[in-house]
């Protein structure tokens, strides 16, 4: 019943205190041919906060997330994660360093059970190589049991016990999203990136998901960066919000600051103003 899930970044322990800068993005520019997806954007993510990235469609939010976890390589700018600067990095390296994410379009293994799907999130934490796992008995089995215990705690946390053995493809959308969150959590990330965790959900599912996001942040101390379109959700959940529009940063601050920001209002409503 008690959660023994190691808090504050779990497997990826660091010496950062809450509130110190976990990730620093400086002057990032990213373009695909002639399309400038991100232009000279800088911002930071502090340890233990919930950081939202918002903006109209095509503003470059998902590109930004892809840059952070190493899927895209920006042409200019630097990223500093836990004090280490990097320019080029493969996604699996990002995963090993403690960045995990969920996707806008669900990316689960549809034929695999929920349990197995979440188990895949533990991949980067497995110490034994394939040969050991092929042998199975002995150390690999011990290790798997440990991982299974960790996964069960996540299942309990996300209240998905009843679907533990259901193939994920058979689940309703809202639950699949939750399973995806579970898989991201299984890696015990230091930084969790959520790409539109509530897109396409009904009100009840949104409320559930918001509760889980807050609980993850509160209980495990996981730092969260999320992209979301539902403004009500963003303003309620996040500590700080960054606003992108056409690849540029047009606002950054607490939800209240952002709400009052004239540029942000314009970008969202698309109206001109005279003053």
């Amino acid at each position: 019943m008690n959660m023994h899930y190691s808090s504050a970044g779990g497997a990826h322990r660091d010496n950062l205190a809450k509130g110190e800068t976990l990730l620093q993005v400086d002057n990032i520019s990213l373009s695909f041919g002639g399309v400038k997806a991100i232009q000279d954007v800088s911002f930071d993510i502090k340890k233990g906060e919930i950081r939202a990235i918002i903006g109209p469609n095509g503003a470059g939010k998902t590109s930004m997330l892809n840059v952070i976890n190493g899927f895209y390589h920006p042409q200019e700018g630097t990223i500093t994660f836990r004090g280490k600067e990097r320019r080029r990095m493969r996604p699996h390296v990002a995963a090993q360093q403690g960045i995990s994410r969920t996707f806008q379009n669900i990316a689960l293994f549809k034929g695999m059970s929920v349990l197995d799907n979440i188990m895949t999130g533990r991949m980067t934490l497995q110490k034994r190589n394939m040969l050991w796992h092929a042998l199975w008995h002995g150390p690999a089995q011990m290790e798997e049991l440990e991982h299974r215990a960790a996964v069960e705690k996540i299942i309990d946390f996300l209240e998905i016990e009843a679907i533990r053995k259901t193939p994920s493809g058979r689940l309703p959308y809202g639950l699949q999203k939750r399973v995806e969150l579970g898989r991201a959590l299984a890696a015990e990330p230091a930084l969790l990136l959520l790409d539109e965790p509530m897109a396409g959900m009904n009100l009840e599912e949104k409320e559930d998901m918001s509760r889980f996001i807050l609980d993850v942040n509160h209980q495990f101390g996981t730092t969260i960066a999320l992209i979301e379109h539902d403004m009500g959700v963003v303003m309620d959940l996040s500590d700080r919000v960054m606003v992108l529009d056409y690849g540029r940063k047009i606002g950054d601050g607490t939800p209240d600051d952002v709400r009052k920001n004239r540029d942000v209002i314009d970008a969202y409503l698309g109206v001109s103003h005279d003053d």
């Binding site: 019943m1 008690n2 959660m3 215990a149 069960e152 705690k153 299942i155 309990d156 946390f157 209240e159 016990e161 009843a162 533990r164 053995k165 609980d215 209980q219």
Partner: protein, 658 residues
């Protein structure tokens, strides 16, 4: 451990803590309780459970719990909550289980009425609920919780975890021993107040039914003998703790017989857990059996052609011979062989899927079960029986003995129970299980229980020629139409509810010209049908109002009218008009009781406009209804509800009979 047994009274244990001491010695290494947590079953033997309860109970006394204190137990079926019953009773305190899903206002009434001084909660949700009421709960001094998740940052004043209390108990035992605790248990007598169970409140405010140890223990002993239950049984505890049925099956009978009670991980996993445990003794209200059958029917419709044919072939065979084989009647060799094949190919796997492989006895009660549903389960070899009971009787009033089963009756009087039918048709009984009285409500006690111990059930019924009791309806619900024909709403509703597509029905007609009904569609079943017929819908409301759904409902209602017309008594109460409600009836809105029974008068009040529309001939009606969400907030839904006329048949009509 045997030293402990010496403290028991000479004529055997009378209270549950005394039974615990006995079981810890006679069944020391047999499992007493299981709980699935993190996907794995954990077990406690009787001696381990004794230790857990001992620590907790002594911890409670250290916290200041005294004899006569009232302790609320709020949550789902969890081992620690079951232990709390016994731990409280060991100190002479009175446990009061409360429905975990009741909203704050409901809870406040019960907790205040019972003057609860301590609440034992399952998790944060329940703690929050109680804390939000703390201004109104004057007598409540402290709260104990089982699951600590989310509670770390709460003000620890007056809030303790289960472990903390057990630690208190451990220290106390090291310091001063547990002699006083054992002496207290030894002092327990059979006629002491054991528990207070609040009735779900079908009519008005919940009433606190006071049951003594004798009430429960003697009833439990009789029931165990009646069905030959012993320490080898395994049951799944999944029904609300506050309901008398669960208290008797999962607590009283388990302590008396020494059998094992298994707690599922959570409500949604109950079915999966049942499959893993394969209980040998199982109780479910008719609704659960209905839902299972609906799920089977829906899944079979999605199955391949060969499987469908095989299922139909063997189910037809089971329908004809299954019950006879179960009842031990003579059946020819060839048909037995075919049944055996069916067992191998269909019934066995089906029972395995449902978790009924190990079942010895299954019971259903609470409401009438559709005869077809009842026969279905019996035909696949499940010894499903009906019983009739009440909180006031410690459950058992009548039950069907093995081999004397019928879908219509509720069996013969249970051991030591006497039954009488009053002049107005009301069923009266007298038994060792008859309650002490309603707490702080002598008026209600006197109107229900006579001086010489007879209890008015409020149900109308009669004893049939086999000596079995049959219940028609609530005595006060049976009414008459204006033309004088009999109107038994439940009888009609149950006929409608047998259709897998209809989840709930409410019939009106008493003192009116004709019978009309409200229907609720079953979203699982109708939703599946809609999927297969390319009918798109966004919500319950939209599907319920769909013309083809209406057409389907019309066919169902007509079918019921045909059946009604074939019985002389009932032919007059055929359904003339119906409508499909725009929302599901919900206990959160007060339309159903917590045990999912329709609250007729409340619905009549709430949907007054719709009822008028049924009788004034209009074809549609706009309504706006307030709904309460689970967290207690309120919203509104509005809809234009269509009203549909149905053909009625004359009694003995050839066409109807065909």
């Amino acid at each position: 451990m045997s030293a402990n047994v010496s403290i028991l009274p000479n004529d055997g244990p009378a209270t549950f803590p005394q039974y615990l001491i006995l079981n810890a010695s006679r069944f020391a290494s047999r499992p007493a309780m299981r709980h699935r947590d993190f996907g794995i079953w954990h077990s406690w033997t009787w001696s381990e459970m004794y230790e857990e309860i001992r620590y907790f109970s002594i911890g409670l006394s250290k916290l200041g719990v005294k004899a006569g204190d009232r302790i609320a137990i709020v949550g789902q079926n969890k081992p620690r909550l079951y232990w709390s019953f016994c731990a409280a009773q060991a100190l002479g305190a009175i446990p009061i289980p409360v429905y975990a899903d009741s909203v704050a206002e409901e809870m406040v009434y019960v907790l205040n009425h019972a003057e609860v001084s301590l609440a034992i909660c399952q998790d944060q949700e329940q703690v929050d609920k109680i804390l939000s009421l703390s201004d109104e709960l004057k007598k409540l001094k402290s709260i104990i919780y089982d699951e600590s998740r989310g509670l770390q940052d709460y003000d620890p004043k007056n809030l303790h975890s289960f472990e903390q209390i057990q630690d208190l108990g451990r220290e106390e035992i090291l310091d001063t021993g547990d002699e006083n605790w054992k002496k207290q248990i030894a002092k327990g007598k059979g006629d002491d107040l054991a528990v207070m169970l609040y009735t779900s409140g079908t009519t008005g405010r919940p009433k606190g039914v006071m049951l003594s140890f004798d009430n429960l223990a003697i009833s439990a002993r009789n029931a165990n003998e009646f069905d030959h239950l012993d320490e080898k049984e395994e049951i799944l505890a999944y029904l609300p703790l506050a309901w008398v049925g669960d208290h008797v099956f999962s607590y009283a009978q388990s302590y008396v017989a020494g059998y094992c009670v298994c707690c599922p991980e959570s409500q949604p996993t109950a079915e999966e857990c049942r499959r893993e445990i394969a209980p040998s003794y199982f109780f479910a209200p008719p609704r659960v059996f209905e839902n299972m059958l609906t799920a089977i029917t829906v899944n079979m419709e999605d199955a391949g052609r060969f499987k469908r044919l095989m299922f139909k072939y063997f189910m037809d065979h089971a329908g004809e011979y299954g019950e006879k084989i179960l009842n031990g009647e003579p059946v020819g060799f060839f048909n037995r062989l075919k049944y055996w094949l069916g067992e191998f190919f269909v019934y066995g796997p089906l029972k395995n899927r449902l978790g009924f492989t190990g079942i010895k006895v299954g019971y259903t009660a609470g409401e009438a079960i559709g005869p077809e549903i009842f026969r279905f389960y019996r035909s696949i070899g499940l010894n499903l029986k009906q019983l009739y009971g009440q909180t006031e009787a410690s459950v058992y009033v009548s039950a069907q003995p093995d081999g004397q089963i019928s879908a219509e009756s509720v069996g013969t009087p249970c051991p030591d129970v006497e039954i009488e039918i009053a002049d107005n048709g009301e069923v009266l009984y007298r038994s060792p299980g008859v309650f002490i009285g309603y707490y702080k409500d002598d008026k209600a006690t006197n109107s229900t229980k006579t001086k010489d111990g007879w209890v008015h059930t409020g149900d109308a019924g009669f004893i049939d020629h086999d000596g079995h009791l049959r219940i028609i309806d609530r005595a006060k619900d049976v009414g008459k139409l204006n033309d004088g024909s009999l109107f038994a709403p439940k009888f009609i509703e149950n006929k409608l509810k047998f259709f897998p597509n209809i989840k709930e029905a409410v019939a009106f007609g008493d003192g009116r010209d004709m019978c009309c009904v409200f229907l609720n569609i079953d979203l699982t079943s109708v939703g599946n049908w809609a999927e297969r017929n390319n009918i798109s819908y966004a919500s319950y409301q939209e599907l319920a109002g769909h013309p083809s759904v209406y057409k389907m409902m019309e066919e169902h209602v007509e079918q019921v009218n045909k059946e009604l017309s074939s019985e002389e008594m009932m032919a007059g109460s055929q359904i003339h008009r119906f409508l499909v409600l725009h929302k599901e009836l919900d206990p959160d809105d007060g339309e159903l009781t917590r045990t999912q029974k329709v609250r007729r008068s409340f619905i009549a009040d709430r949907y007054g406009e719709l009822i008028e529309a049924l009788y004034d001939g209009s074809t549609e009606k706009f309504v706006e209804t307030e709904v309460v969400f689970e967290d207690g907030r309120k919203g509104k839904i509005s809809a234009t509800v269509e009203i549909c006329d149905v053909t009625v048949f004359a009694h003995g009509d050839k066409e109807a009979a065909a």
